[in-house]
């Protein structure tokens, strides 16, 4: 996204743009959940990065193994040394299910392979207790656990066995939904759909023999099928630097998106330690700040671009209904109506994501500020 936005605005003689990516693939992660419920195919949510990038962008398919911000150099696993004037870190989040003892008995939908496994387990499930827990904070897409509970309800309704399945969400917070003003609405939906919940349950370990999941707060819940949002960490290459906190999240200025005191290093997306949802939407809004700032710097026209904490998210509630939330540091989200429109917007986005976002083709008004 950043590489394409820079390439769109800057002329060849103004900058050379290089993107380093480990596997040269771009994965549309919101699609994982739909793979689990059998509504999406794994090959449809991944594309070759080269095909998404503007020609002006050099793509280096290699793993970055060392970042030296004092020497302005990134070293790759093939010992390529890339020097830079500006560095944008967008290394995302790693998932570490193995950090939860007993995790081998749990499923999740945070990568393609695991989503396919969950799809199989759900297809073979004919009744009993499904428990959804959260193995660590922060995790990508905070509404995803509640969303998956609603989609589970819809899935078993469609299979005609909803009455044989108990669905329970173990929430780490004193409420079901992470965003407080929206919680009463989601609680109502849970009641309507007969989805159970326990609050203040931060998963600590699993006992597969007893089919029990235990919490940091000292409580336990039994399950027949367990879905556990895996613990997340910042990327290994980041954890090896002094640029991050203990979770490996890059210490990023909440407005300028610059890293620590470095004027030439930025971070965006899931990799940062910012107190905003780890979401593609946040990365999208951050992108315009980082690219604006770099372009302004190169051309001497800097306007002091600032990120306002904006996040927009669409949640699918099943039965072709959804909600859309839009908020920033200054404007808490307001409870939206449950609508078909929000659902269709999400579906539209799932379909047209490839054409619009990675290529930076979103119309200006969609990137504006909240009033």
């Amino acid at each position: 996204m950043v590489a394409n936005s820079l390439a769109k605005s800057l002329k060849k003689e103004e900058a050379e743009i290089t993107l380093v990516d480990e596997d040269g693939k771009h994965v549309y992660q919101p699609g994982f959940i739909y793979i689990s419920f059998g509504n999406e195919k794994p090959h449809k949510i991944v594309k070759d990065e080269r095909k998404l990038l503007r020609r002006k962008v050099n793509l280096v398919v290699d793993k970055a193994v060392k970042i030296d911000v004092d020497d302005r150099k990134v070293t790759t696993s093939k010992d390529k040394k890339l020097e830079y004037d500006y560095l944008v870190l967008a290394t995302g989040a790693e998932i570490h299910p193995e950090d939860i003892p007993g995790c081998e008995d749990a499923y999740h939908f945070y990568d393609t392979e695991s989503s396919v496994k969950l799809r199989k387990a759900l297809a073979e499930f004919n009744g009993g207790r499904i428990v959804i827990g959260i193995g660590g904070i922060p995790y990508k897409c905070p509404p995803a656990p509640a969303e998956s509970a609603c989609l589970m309800d819809y899935y078993f309704h469609r299979r005609g066995i909803r009455d044989k399945v108990t669905i329970e969400l173990l929430s780490p917070l004193p409420r079901i939904f992470p965003i407080e003003p929206i919680d009463p609405l989601v609680s109502e939906v849970f009641e309507m759909k007969n989805i159970k919940s326990q609050t203040f349950f931060n998963v600590e370990s699993v006992e597969p023999e007893k089919k029990l999941v235990h919490s940091l707060e000292g409580e336990s819940a039994d399950y027949d099928l367990l879905i556990l949002i895996p613990p997340h960490k910042g990327a290994k290459v980041i954890r090896a630097t002094q640029l991050c906190d203990r979770g490996g999240w890059i210490i990023t200025d909440r407005e300028t998106l610059k890293v620590l005191d470095y004027d030439d290093v930025y971070a965006i997306g899931d990799a940062t330690n910012l107190p905003v949802s780890k979401s593609g939407a946040a990365a999208h809004y951050e992108n315009s700040v980082v690219t604006g700032s770099i372009i302004g710097d190169i051309r001497g026209t800097s306007k002091g671009e600032k990120y306002d904490g904006r996040v927009t998210c669409f949640c699918d509630a099943g039965f072709r209904r959804g909600i859309m939330l839009d908020f920033d540091y200054e404007h808490p989200p307001v409870p939206p109506p449950f609508s078909r429109m929000a659902y269709f917007k999400k579906m539209f986005f799932n379909k047209f994501y490839w054409w619009i976002l990675p290529k930076d083709r979103l119309p200006g008004f969609v990137t504006g500020k909240l009033e």
Partner: protein
């Protein structure tokens, strides 16, 4: 402890609605060492109520909730 005493960890969660200050605190508790003190800055009213509740339930120590001009400073000690 007076409200401005330095803590081992400081989290500025002002303006955080999702994931929210409590989630940021739980993350710091998970990542932290026993005995460490954590200060969290929040301008979210719900957190003033939720954080002490969670700290009590999870068996840590609430050192204090201090009113600042436009935010709260909540100080917690990790006990286990």
């Amino acid at each position: 402890m007076s409200d401005d005493v330095e803590t081992d960890v400081l989290i500025d969660a002002r303006g955080s609605f999702c994931p929210g200050p409590l989630m940021e605190l739980i993350r710091a508790i998970r990542e932290g060492e026993v005995g460490e003190t954590i200060a969290i800055l929040s301008n979210d009213n719900g957190s003033k109520r939720d954080i002490p509740l969670w700290v009590g339930k999870a068996g840590h120590e609430l050192i204090g909730v201090f009113d600042k001009e436009d935010h709260d400073r909540i100080v917690v000690k990790k006990l286990k």
